[in-house]
């Protein structure tokens, strides 16, 4: 090969590089290591982490069981090691799974159109806000404080340089739901979108229908985010204009925050302002059903600076995990899974006193009384339990509170321990025990 290239050694292929740019020493990195050493290195790093703990953390990342079929499918080289399906004739596998994904997301959210996925819930929500601004030709964003605080931060980063002012509105200190009266007061004719999350960061189910009615009266769109996708197995899909959410709950490992997959779904009439990839049905020259990427005239590789987004990829393999998950659970399974989450969280809540009275799915806020959340968590760690997320970091007024989550993977014994650990902090009797034992 060297001879064919007319050189004696590979280094000769670099002689055209200016002397000044060349690195004249070896990279200061250790020599390569063997497969066993690599496995050993990462196993040791894993052992330094929280192995073998029960966890009651949710807050946007949920511990759900991952059915075995999920990794069986995504480990196939045909999915794992294939490229973006630009060449439809040799990518029908990926294209078909994305078409199924788009369909399932529409079924789940009650929307007309869903794209092929976004990076995650946080960036999906930010892109949905930019989309709303394009659709309304307005720039103001009115955001509930009960939206995941990190999603809010990402929203700020994206909106800041687009001349899109962000106004926050409060949550109701009694129910924990977005304060729609405060929202109505702050809404004006320059508002492009009202942004809420349901269930919200505190786990409380929002009245999205009413929020949308108020928003529409002033010509704003209602963008709904979600972080806990399993909740859609049981919750009525809200009539929002754009839904942006996170699918981590659908068999995607917590993996210290990523990679996950986000979604954007919307009404038919808004489809052409959607960011991201879309797969559409068509036929091949023999008339057989086939799929291909479509409506690419919205995208950066065609439209360049006039594109709807700079996003270049979707999260195909992660979206495939979610697709397999939805296929495994299906219509009945997702409902049953959601009911189990509901039951576990309400059992845990029955041992404690939730701070807010609004309806919740699988997480809720609890006050820690005269002890700090950190103090209670430290005691729980001794029993190999990771407690709830202390909220003071995001909500100074809630520095005496933590967010607890229970899923189908939470054991009753561990929940009892958490209940006991928080016991002295109880200021009143457990709320609504009547909803238990109804079956």
């Amino acid at each position: 090969m060297l001879e064919a290239c007319g050189v004696e050694k590979p280094e000769d292929l670099f002689t055209h590089l200016p002397e000044a740019v060349r690195l004249k020493r070896p990279l200061q990195l250790p020599p390569g290591i063997s497969e066993y050493e690599i496995v050993d290195y990462f196993r040791r790093r894993g052992d330094q982490n929280a192995n073998g703990y029960a966890s009651f953390l949710g807050a946007g990342v949920y511990g759900h069981y991952r059915p075995v079929l999920v990794d069986t499918v995504v480990a196939r080289g045909e999915f794992l090691t294939s490229y973006t399906p630009y060449q439809a004739e040799m990518a029908q596998g990926t294209l078909t799974t994305i078409f199924e994904f788009q369909t399932m997301i529409c079924q789940l959210t009650g929307m007309d159109v869903a794209n092929a996925s976004m990076y995650d819930g946080s960036t999906g929500l930010a892109e949905a806000a930019l989309m709303a601004a394009r659709l309304t030709s307005k720039g103001g964003l009115l955001v509930a404080r009960s939206v995941h605080p990190e999603y809010q931060e990402v929203l700020h980063t994206y909106a800041k340089n687009q001349g899109m002012p962000i106004t926050e509105f409060e949550y109701d200190a009694e129910t924990g739901a977005a304060d729609l009266d405060d929202m109505e007061r702050k809404l004006n004719d320059l508002t492009a979108a009202v942004i809420v999350q349901s269930p919200n960061f505190f786990g409380v189910v929002e009245d999205v229908k009413r929020a949308a009615e108020i928003a529409h009266r002033r010509g704003a769109l209602l963008v709904m985010g979600f972080a806990e996708a399993v909740s859609l197995g049981i919750l009525e899909p809200p009539k929002a204009d754009i839904i942006a959410g996170e699918l981590q709950s659908f068999a995607i490992s917590p993996s210290y925050g990523g990679p996950y997959a986000g979604i954007i779904a919307t009404r038919e009439k808004f489809a052409r302002q959607m960011p991201g990839r879309l797969v559409g049905e068509t036929t091949d020259t023999h008339g057989n059903r086939a799929f291909c990427l479509t409506l690419a005239t919205r995208e950066q590789h065609i439209r360049r600076e006039k594109a709807t987004s700079n996003i270049c990829t979707n999260q195909a393999l992660i979206a495939l995990m979610a697709t397999v998950f939805m296929s495994v659970y299906g219509k009945e399974g997702l409902r049953e899974l959601a009911e189990q989450n509901l039951a576990k969280a309400h059992y845990l809540a029955s041992r404690l006193t939730p701070r807010f009275s609004g309806p919740f799915f699988n997480e809720f806020v609890v006050s820690t009384g005269d002890r700090s959340p950190e103090e209670i968590n430290a005691a729980l760690l001794d029993r190999k339990i990771i407690g709830g997320l202390p909220l003071g970091r995001f909500y100074p007024e809630l520095s005496d509170a933590m967010l607890l989550c229970a899923t189908e993977m939470s054991h009753r014994e561990d929940m009892d321990i958490v209940g006991q650990a928080l016991q002295p902090a109880r200021s009143s009797q457990p709320r609504s025990p009547e909803i238990l034992n109804v079956h």
Partner: protein, 495 residues
């Protein structure tokens, strides 16, 4: 015609999952509840509970596995063979990287678990940061961006933040006409006006044109190096000086960093900020279009603006520092695509410093070998020495009415994925070929044979090439029809 790599075999048909569905079939099992069941209507309120998920599939376990396995066989993949997509860097994805990303203590690490129980994941991130700094010659790096395009956005927001602190964020970003489409789209999202600058007759940055364009309004230049022709921008140091003299910054799109690792470092040739595509240079799998990873490396003066949080070492312990008043904020929830970072670090550890350099040299050798072998058959509009990829034009074949897209489709019949079609835009009928370092001579020769054979077919049977592919289960797909009347989801056939 001599197709050596493939012959046809039976390909299974498969319906959509919804068409296989019927009530009562199930593929899941849930444990028995160890707590009392709860009535959803009571707990959530009647109005909040849905009736059911209309249309959601109901299938058995074996149907799920067969469905996705059958669909998988309709894909081409790196595991089948060479993927000569220029600019996309489709190299082999070592399987050990998949195994280690699934290590229990890593895959199940919750982003909010206590720092005392996260030292392993933080150590991995710190280790990768230091390796990337050594490779790029930069001063600081953030691992947060989810992919290359988000890395670009992060980088441009960093430039904006620094210039704003100096008193004026400025208005324009300069972008060569050979750039990836993400560059102008990114600049627009970051609130900048895009000004395209023309390449010179060799396809390189035109210094004189640049000098004229760099005014007090210009925030920076986004440049890919090597550029999208696979050619090293030899005047990069002078370009950086032009920008810096006027207070503007140099952004490098690191999409082609796999041509430089161990050979040259952007930090040494004037780059102020750059992103890396972990799914290209560091071999994390493309997965049919994601996930990726887009770390952004910067020079010292940009460090205060990096996204929060930053890793901080205190004695023996890692922690996160959120107290960064100048930070641009967060570009993504949590800390980045950690699972992708694990795979990239595994790749770096496996290669070591010398192995990474050897990979670069093999990638460049492979591209040059293809160039030499195909030059007699295809037009090469830009002739400067190339690095990791080579861009031909369809000019000769176009005389027979056969375009780059047709040749690409015909390659499929020969058992190869097409090269990158019609990009970069500065080449008419571009055929952009990048073999990467992981192809051996046998596979390269098969590819070269296929290309030469197609060139000959075009002389004798142009129509056959124009209607390719002929051997796939799906023949040429009607993309126009898909866009004209979009069908973006399955709906049941009405009875």
């Amino acid at each position: 015609m001599s197709i050596k790599k493939v012959r046809s075999h039976i390909s299974p048909n498969e319906a959509l999952l919804f068409e296989r569905s019927s009530p009562g079939k199930k593929a899941y099992q849930l444990p028995a509840l160890d707590v009392p069941a709860v009535d959803p209507r009571t707990a959530l309120g009647e109005q909040n509970v849905r009736a059911g998920i209309e249309g959601f599939p109901e299938v058995s376990e074996v149907e799920v596995i067969r469905h996705f396995t059958r669909l998988s066989t309709w894909n081409y993949a790196i595991d089948y063979g060479m993927y000569p997509l220029g600019s996309c860097t489709m190299k082999y994805n070592p399987r050990v990287n998949e195994l280690v990303a699934r290590t229990e203590g890593l895959a199940w690490a919750h982003p909010y678990q206590p720092e005392s129980l996260s030292q392993g994941v933080m150590e991995i991130m710190a280790h990768l940061e230091s390796a990337l700094l050594e490779i790029t010659g930069m001063d600081a790096v953030t691992l947060q961006p989810a992919a290359g395009a988000q890395g670009e956005l992060t980088g441009i927001l960093l430039i904006r933040a620094l210039l704003a602190q100096r008193g004026n964020p400025r208005k324009k970003i300069l972008i060569p006409d050979s750039a990836h489409g993400t560059n102008p789209a990114t600049a627009a999202i970051a609130g900048y006006v895009v000004e395209n600058i023309r390449s010179d007759e060799h396809g390189l940055l035109d210094l004189a044109a640049l000098e004229k364009s760099v005014t007090e309004d210009v925030a920076g230049l986004m440049v890919t190096n090597p550029n999208t022709l696979g050619v090293f921008e030899s005047r990069i140091i002078a370009a950086a000086e032009v920008l810096h003299r006027k207070g503007a910054l140099l952004y490098m799109d690191g999409a082609n960093m796999n041509a430089l690792v161990g050979i040259a470092r952007p930090g040494d040739f004037g780059v102020d900020v750059m992103h890396l595509n972990l799914h290209k240079t560091f071999s994390t799998p493309h997965g049919g279009g994601g996930p990726g990873g887009g770390p952004v490396a910067v020079k010292k003066e940009l460090e205060p603006f990096l996204p929060v949080p930053r890793l901080k070492r205190a004695g023996e312990r890692w922690s996160f520092d959120y107290d960064r008043p100048l930070s641009i904020g967060k570009v993504k929830a949590f800390y980045g695509n950690f699972g992708v970072l694990v795979r990239a670090l595994a790749y770096i550890l496996a290669h070591g410093g010398n192995g990474l350099r050897a990979a670069t040299m093999d990638a460049v050798l492979n591209a040059n070998y293809i160039r030499k072998k195909l030059e007699p058959f295809f037009d090469l509009p830009y002739t400067l020495p190339n690095m990791h990829e080579v861009v031909f034009s369809d000019e000769r074949q176009a005389r027979q009415g056969v375009r780059t897209g047709d040749i690409a489709k015909r390659l499929i019949d020969y058992g190869f994925h097409p090269y990158t079609v019609s990009f970069p835009l500065i080449v008419r009928g571009a055929m952009m070929i990048e073999p990467t370092e992981t192809e051996g001579k046998l596979e390269l020769d098969l590819f070269i044979d296929a290309m030469i054979s197609i060139a000959k077919e075009i002389e004798t049977e142009p129509e056959m090439v124009k209607t390719a592919p002929h051997s796939t289960r799906t023949s040429r797909v009607d993309e126009v029809k898909a866009a004209r009347k979009p069908v973006l989801k399955w709906t049941p056939v009405p009875h």
